[in-house]
């Protein structure tokens, strides 16, 4: 069988080779029309780009003899010359003899505006205008704001309308504009199509503008490039045969992609969103070894080699806008590296973008453990990016809970590798997520202050902590659900309530849901704590108390408990009951009720019940926190 397949392949190769010989003979003997026909046959036998290019080149040498000429011009913002041989093949197949003009790379504006340009001298019958979205709007891959998007939408509309108008004023050619298409991954992930600054909707808007403008002109068309590109993928991804046989539509390849994308929804639902990306430097954020070649010798800049690293850094920076933290772990001398982080003109990521930095010669597993401790997040929330396979293997073996990415050898694939990960998705983006990176930066300043303060209490006073506590309302629900599903350490019962349950609690007269917002002199922490309380006949039962790890150690949890206590006392409740369910991770919460004066009353199925009599016992707010309560 193997042998037989080789035979068939060899047979096909032989045929192509024979056809080339036929062509050469015809060309050599000056039988031009027959030579053209031989080329037609050749590209049918071998539809590869290489053969199409060979045929196109040969036709120029042969000289044209065919009838029905057509003059085709291409204006583009990127290199589209490789389209010409394929278009040539298609024209011949249709019985046309084409002539082509491809305007110099990215000079479409001059070509259109200058009446004596090569374009007009060529006298095209049809002009394809291919402007890439990234060229029209270079900021598109760097999380543009709503304002940027609105501005560039108007600019693109104006640019295309102007080009078409000027072109039409100087030429009778049919004008075909390619749809601007965004082919990258959205920096917003699965949230893209529910945001005002999402790129999918914006791309739709841009193209709807163009379709409207061009649709009103008989000489201008919009080529549906997205559909065309989709078809290229669909060719392999869709199968009518499977549909006829089994009412299936997707091939295995497409199903694999679909399954992978589906995990972008499953992972955040199950609290598996990774929170921190630890990156190496040499070979990862830039090319080359800075300790050997110096800051000016590394590969990092607007042209290759180097542009691939700039692009990769942009993708990492985009992650921070979703609340993902970045950290550096590099074997280097700080003196070699810091000038790059601080001053290199083409660095996208700067010192302030990293929540933690470890530049030393120690074992990377140790460094990662330390970073986890410093940032107060679990190692199972970490992603590790390092171009060195030895370091990756070390982390895989020593810290299997860290997601170690098999970074490709080719740095031009770094960005797409990162963007193909389904581990950074959120089901809702909260203000806290967007501010997280800057909050951790403020944390570093707080720690510096801690070191300079004498006692812990002096330190806490110097932070000027403000806590605001209120009854939860509808707009708090997304953040509440997010915290309930990802908070592990300070979480009394780890009950993973979802949106419908929380909405019910918020609306229910039998439940009280409290939210805690905290700020200090370095900035706002946002909504970082919550409590769910159920009113029973003679007792108030605290179903859950949780606190973001960012504010652990400030005693703000006491403020939450004090608020519940005040309300219970006001309603003359005989008992305040706090439930505690121990887990592998919530050790830091184990003594929460004890240290606030609760007594362990019993334990059922691993759930402890702690009680306190609000009529007798007392809970006080910490002296260093300015508390503001709103609502009853």
């Amino acid at each position: 069988m193997e042998e037989q397949r080789d035979h068939r392949k060899k047979g096909a190769d032989d045929e192509v080779e024979a056809q080339r010989l036929v062509y050469r003979e015809l060309k050599a003997s000056g039988r031009t029309a027959e030579a053209h026909a031989a080329l037609n046959r050749l590209v049918e036998l071998d539809p590869s780009g290489g053969t199409a290019t060979f045929a196109h080149r040969e036709r120029a040498k042969l000289g044209e003899v065919g009838e029905r000429p057509v003059r085709i011009a291409i204006l583009s913002s990127y290199v589209l010359d490789p389209l010409v041989p394929f278009l040539d093949v298609e024209c011949r197949r249709a019985g046309l003899t084409p002539a082509f003009y491809v305007a110099p790379f990215n000079q479409y504006t001059q070509e259109v505006l200058n009446p004596s340009s090569g374009l007009y001298a060529f006298g095209p019958e049809i002009v394809f205008v291919a402007l890439d979205l990234e060229d029209l709007f270079p900021g598109v891959r760097r999380v543009p704001s709503v304002d940027d998007l609105a501005k560039s939408r108007a600019e693109i509309r104006g640019t295309v309308a102007g080009l078409v108008r000027e072109l039409h004023a100087r030429s009778t050619a049919l004008i075909v504009v390619h749809e601007p298409t965004f082919t990258g991954s959205s920096p917003h992930g699965i949230l893209d199509n529910r945001r005002g600054d999402g790129l999918s909707r914006w791309t739709e808007d841009v193209n709807r503008d163009l379709a409207e403008d061009l649709g009103a002109q008989a000489h201008a068309f919009l080529l549906p490039l997205r559909q065309v590109l989709g078809r290229a993928g669909n060719e392999r991804g869709q199968s009518r045969k499977l549909f006829y046989m089994a009412r299936m539509r997707h091939t295995d390849g497409a199903l694999r992609e679909l399954a992978s994308y589906s995990m972008r929804y499953v992972k955040p639902l199950k609290g598996l969103t990774r929170k921190c990306v630890v990156v190496d430097l040499d070979g990862t954020l830039w090319g080359g070894v800075v300790g050997e070649v110096g800051p000016d010798g590394i590969q990092l800049g607007p042209a290759a080699p180097g542009i691939e690293f700039v692009d990769f850094q942009e993708a990492l920076l985009n992650l921070t806008k979703r609340g993902i933290l970045l950290a550096v772990c590099s074997k280097n001398n700080p003196d070699d590296v810091m000038p790059v982080l601080r001053e290199h003109k083409h660095m996208v990521l700067r010192e302030e973008h990293f929540a933690a930095v470890r530049i030393n010669w120690r074992n990377k597993a140790e460094n990662l453990r330390e970073i986890a401790e410093e940032l107060n997040i679990g190692l199972d929330s970490f992603v590790f990016l390092d171009d060195n396979p030895v370091e990756r293997e070390l982390i895989r073996q020593m810290l299997p809970q860290v997601l170690t990415i098999e970074l490709p050898r080719d740095a031009s694939q770094y960005r797409s590798t990162l963007e193909s990960l389904s581990d950074f998705e959120l089901l809702a983006l909260t203000k806290e997520d967007e501010q997280r990176a800057s909050q951790y930066q403020a944390n570093r300043q707080r720690q510096a202050l801690e070191l300079s303060s004498g006692s812990l209490e002096d330190y806490l006073h110097s932070l000027e902590i403000r806590a605001e506590i209120a009854r939860a309302e509808g707009h708090h629900v997304p953040r509440l659900v997010q915290m309930l599903n990802k908070t592990n350490q300070f979480n009394t019962t780890t009950r993973r309530y979802q949106t419908p349950e929380i909405e019910r609690f918020v609306a229910s007269p039998d439940h009280r849901v409290y939210v805690l917002e905290v700020a200090d002199r370095f900035g706002e922490h946002g909504l970082v704590g919550s409590a769910i309380v159920r009113r029973e006949r003679d007792a108030w039962r605290i179903d859950n108390v949780l606190l973001s790890c960012r504010v652990m150690g400030l005693s703000v949890e006491t403020v939450l408990l004090k608020r519940i206590y005040d309300a219970a006392r006001l309603h003359d409740a005989a008992r305040l009951v706090g439930e505690f369910i121990p887990t592998a991770k919530n050790g830091p919460t184990a003594d929460f009720y004890r240290r606030h004066g609760f007594q362990l009353a019993g334990e059922v199925d691993g759930a402890q019940a702690w009680t306190l009599d609000p009529r007798v016992d007392r809970i006080e707010d910490p002296a260093w926190i300015a508390v503001k309560t709103t609502g009853e």
Partner: protein, 76 residues
Amino acid sequence: MRTLEEVVSGVFGVEPQSLDESSSPQSVEGWDSMGHVNLVTALEQHFNVSIDIDDVMEMGSVGKIREILVAYGVRA
């Protein structure tokens, strides 16, 4: 290169020795309509052929499959 029996046994998880030319959806557990789609996909990939849909419908036994594959130039 695996034999036809090995491909069929791989798809349905049965011993290759338990298959013969008359093995069919009636005698092989799991060879239902969905199993048939999986079998065709496996045959296409393994023998590097694209099987026409009317042939797919004819593939009612191991013997019949062999006959069809031979017609595609596969020495199955």
